[in-house]
Amino acid sequence: MSAAAGSQRTAQARRDPRTSAEATTGRTLRRRRSSRVIAGVAGGLADHLRVDVRWVRVIITLLAAVDGLGVVVYGALWAVVRQRSVDVAEPDSPRERTQAIGMVVLGFGLLVATSSFGQGLSGQLFFPASVALIGAVLVWREADETQRRRWAQGARTGVAEVFIGNGGRGAIIRSLSGAALVITGIVVLLVDSLALAPLQFALLSVIVTLIGTAVLTLPWWLRLVRDLDEERFARIRTEERAEIAAHLHDSVLQTLALIQKQAENDKEVRRLARSQERQLRTWLYGATGYGGSSRAGGADADTDAPPAEPTSAKTLAEVVSEVCGEVEDTFAIKVQQVVVGDCEVDDRVLAAVWAAREAMVNAAKHAEVGEVSVFVEIEPEQIELFVRDRGKGFDPTTVSQDRHGLADSIHGRMERHGGTVRLRTAPGEGTEVALRLPRTGDKR
């Protein structure tokens, strides 16, 4: 993986939406907080689908006529979809509100009409079921209301507080009357079915009571799960912050202190700053860096980040950046590297990298410049490495016989591995060493 490619992945991980639950507010389905009539489901759907809320309400109302499907859908969405935690101002006109309440009544009416005609729910079941339904709506709405207050106060809640919170007597009355309605509905349902044998009756009452309890405590269960989630995220964030602080202390702060002490020494300051920059870069953007996949996998097991890559062998891009860093440090010059593509490293590739290193060293020693450019391109058929400087250049014919750098380390090495070297230089025009290595077989 090239330096560029590796860093892209880490940048993605850094922006992982899961690290901030509310960052996703714009994209995921959230129930509205303000301008809602029952629970803000229709409004949330409308925002999500970018349609007028009226159409959503009409459709849900019409669906209510089909065996109460609309009611079921609405209830399911209410239970599953989270409420928006940040208040977004919604267009809310009294007229729209009246319309919405009309829709609710109409939907209810349709439900009654279809059931009394005997097409939908049987009339006998319908009355207790709707009483229980209204009760459940009351209890759940109160739970939503509590959630709002809780967001405002940032407090955790117990079982009772889920339904009542700090809402005072009104909340208690609403919750209790809701619960009472649910229970009444269930009891009436059971009394209506008295024709059953005693054993069947007992069984049925147990089941229905369980369902009733589940309906009443559903907000609490959901809250429990979400609180656990939130707590986990908060903990992870705290740990991350501590780790970042520790790393910055170990690296940047120490280096800055050193630089202050060495302020008189130009070269040393530059060397320190450069090595620090490289180190921090690797930490932030490198393949195994801070935001890298291996870390993301460990810290947060169920993010969508790809699983950690097995880092068995080093890739060419990593080797090149290592070598460039080493030259930077040793000779106090800047080595600008660009790597396009990547491949695995074998002996031949390594030889080419060492030849390139020798070219860098030559440039650092003789060219009298502050910067060397290194460009590596990995193509299907060959690998090309270019090392260039804008230094003083030289005349290749005048290089004396006892100099081995260019002859042995570069020419010799490349030729032994079937590669070629092209040298472009002239006094005053800088130097470019082009190394070309054909790839045998597919190592990708």
Binding site: A4, A11, Q12, L284, F375
Partner: protein, 227 residues
């Protein structure tokens, strides 16, 4: 060129607006740019996306030097919000980031060039003037990113893209030389073409980077396991 004042002649300084969330960097950049006496005038600066959009609206600069990494969406967000209302303002991305996707995102959003923060003051002034005159400016690193993005390596999906999305061999050559650290002038000498032609090639690479379709982008992202 884009600003009415600039049409009157070369004597008018290029009006530059700085956007970076680090006050320290802004101060440094301002000092370096202002030293290029007469060529560049820093008319304003901003430290956040909102400030930047407001500032660009207020000052109507010739060139905006835009940081890629900022809170609330970064340079790409500034571009999205300011470009519609101010189509004449030219944006030059200035980044310390090594993350190609961030840089490419800014280029896609419509920046006219990209340089790294380690660039020397002289080169930065040069780059500002150049984008002001309508050319594209690439640093070697960005040239590498773009080559990588458009690479048709074996193993990658076959290319069914319209002609528009592919780099011509010549553009590829130009990019390669750019990535090798050649200046535009040196590329022109190397390829036996004029500097103007080099600039045309670079500009068309930029256009393709902005226009290349979703398919190319998704392939590029898949290759790098971004999605």
């Amino acid at each position: 060129m884009n600003h009415p004042e600039a049409k009157t002649g070369q004597t008018q300084p290029v009006r530059v607006f700085l956007v970076d969330d680090h006050a320290l960097f802004r101060t440094g950049a301002k000092a370096e740019l202002t030293n290029a006496s007469g060529i560049i005038e820093v008319v304003g600066e901003a430290g956040s996306v909102g400030e930047a959009v407001a500032g660009i609206g207020h000052f109507e600069p010739d060139v905006v030097l835009l940081d890629v990494h900022m809170p609330d969406g970064g340079g790409a967000e500034v571009l999205r919000r300011a470009r519609k209302t101010h189509p004449n303002v030219v944006f030059l991305a200035l980044s310390v980031s090594d993350a190609a996707e961030d840089v490419i995102a800014v280029i896609r959003a419509g920046a006219r060039g990209y340089v790294t923060k380690t660039i020397s003051a002289r080169e930065l002034v040069d780059a500002v003037v150049r984008v002001h005159h309508g050319d594209a400016v690439f640093s070697p690193r960005l040239a590498g990113f773009v080559l990588d993005a458009f690479a048709d390596r074996p193993g990658a999906a076959p290319i069914n893209d319209p002609e528009l999305d592919l780099l011509t061999p010549r553009e590829r050559d130009v990019l390669r030389l750019l990535a090798r650290g050649y200046a535009y002038k040196e590329i022109a000498a190397e390829l036996f073409i004029s500097v103007k032609t080099v600039e045309t090639h670079v500009s068309s690479v930029l256009r393709k980077t902005q226009l290349s379709n979703r398919y190319e982008l998704s392939r590029w992202a898949t290759d790098r396991r971004l999605i």
